[in-house]
């Protein structure tokens, strides 16, 4: 079947199998391998992308369900000149990553979280990221990064 999806501002049409998952489509058809597959069972959040601005787990969506929609992946976060998005910059500053496997999904989940809670409490950050697992950091620095990004005043909604 034919799907037309706008990813990070670029619209393309492709023939895909109906059963193709969105994460496969992003990685294999669009060549955007920043979005990781961790658990493949909707648990870890490594595959999180934005669908019309909201975080979703792309291992549990069909590419067909994204037909006509706008997707943002980690590749769409930094500016074209390479300047990191304020959320990425905050992860960098606060050492919010170690191996980095969870990071693309974390950053996308945070983008959605901060849209819904522009001024979150620490508890709201922790609960807001309950769908994202990190096996390295112990979360502390991730939470610090999110709080700092929220208060940096640089986030454009």
């Amino acid at each position: 079947m034919r799907v037309t999806v706008t990813v990070n501002g670029t619209t393309e049409t492709h023939d895909v199998e109906a059963r193709m998952l969105l994460v496969q489509y992003l990685r294999e058809v669009r060549g955007l391998t920043g979005t990781n597959i961790g658990c493949d069972t909707t648990s870890c959040g490594a595959c999180t992308v934005l669908l019309d601005g909201e975080s979703v787990k792309s291992c549990t969506l069909l590419a067909a369900q994204a037909d006509g929609e706008e997707i943002t992946t980690i590749e769409g976060m930094a500016a074209p000149d390479g300047t990191l998005h304020p959320i990425q910059e905050a992860f960098h500053q606060h050492h919010g990553l170690q191996c980095g496997f969870c990071t693309p999904g974390m950053v996308m989940a945070v983008a959605s979280l901060l849209k819904e809670h522009p001024d979150p409490s620490e508890a709201e950050v922790r609960e807001g990221l309950e769908g994202n697992l990190c096996r390295c950091t112990g979360y502390h620095n991730i939470v610090q990064a999110v709080l700092s990004a929220a208060h940096s005043g640089e986030l454009v909604p």
Binding site: A18, M20, T42, V56, K57, T60, Q65
Partner: protein, 275 residues
């Protein structure tokens, strides 16, 4: 994990979805948020031949004050229910429970209709609508019918819906106070090991998550409350006659104990919301 092959069709209306469903109801499945069905398909525990995506059918996502009750469109996503002003004011239990489902990503996709139609005893929203004495509206080739929540949940992943019917609306009684929800789980984002939804105003109704093969009511507790028992005595009867399952999270005995503890907490909390 990739699902087995299927044909995908996107429905533009309830009529179109019902038409496709009636062509071959046994091997056709509706796809709403996909957050129960797609995981099953990826594990090949479900292998529908045709998937009818109702996710974009217009007009089925709403939370409306309908006078004596609140009407919720079947395609209302958990997130939209969680933040709905109408739900928060008139059925705060439902808004609260929607906010307890899974994680934000799940709540951005999953719908109340999908959650109810799936019929999983471990799900939260079925217990909430059972406690709220809901009426479920289903459309099908034989027309529209209303099903009481008490008659809807039939068994494990089994509901009163016929394979060619679609759930379109959920109607719940208003319960601005006198409610509580308790959910006990071991990990964030997880399903409840046991959960309790209680609504005390009017006839007290107490519904349980994961205390049997289907969503059910704590009849022992309800009878005790009707007879004037205090929360502790009423809660002691929470597991009367129930046979929860044992799994890697909890034994049946542990679940029965947990039910009495959580029901007591829910009854105390519900009484407190009356102010």
């Amino acid at each position: 994990m990739i699902p087995a092959s299927f044909e995908y069709r996107r429905a533009g209306s309830v009529e179109e979805a019902l038409g496709w469903l009636s062509e071959d109801p046994d091997s056709t499945k509706l796809l709403a948020g996909g957050h129960s069905l797609l995981p099953l398909m990826k594990l090949r525990l479900a292998t529908p031949g045709v998937l009818v995506d109702v996710g974009r059918v217009p007009g089925l996502s709403y939370v409306r004050d309908a006078g004596d009750h609140v009407a919720i469109g079947a395609l209302t996503r958990h997130r939209d229910l969680e933040i709905s002003e109408v739900a928060r004011a008139s059925v705060p239990l439902l808004a609260h429970v929607a906010g307890q489902v899974g994680d934000p990503q799940v709540r951005h996709r999953g719908t109340i209709g999908g959650s109810l139609a799936h019929g999983d005893p471990a799900s939260d929203l079925p217990a909430a609508v059972l406690a709220l004495d809901a009426t479920l509206v289903a459309d099908g080739p034989r027309g529209r019918r209303e099903i009481a929540a008490d008659d809807f949940f039939r068994g494990f992943l089994e509901t009163a819906l016929e394979p060619d019917e679609m759930l379109t609306e959920i109607r719940v009684r208003k319960a601005p106070s006198g409610w509580a929800f308790q959910k006990f789980n071991r990990r964030a984002q997880d399903w409840a090991i046991v959960g309790v939804a209680a609504v005390l105003d009017g006839d007290p109704r107490v519904a349980l998550v994961n205390m049997g093969s289907t969503t059910l009511r704590a009849r022992g507790t309800e009878e005790a409350l009707a007879a004037g028992a205090d929360p502790t005595d009423a809660a002691a009867r929470a597991a009367d006659g129930l046979e929860p399952s044992s799994d890697l999270h909890a034994s049946a005995e542990y679940r029965r104990h947990l039910a009495t503890v959580l029901v007591r907490r829910a009854l105390v909390e519900a009484a407190a919301t009356r102010g």
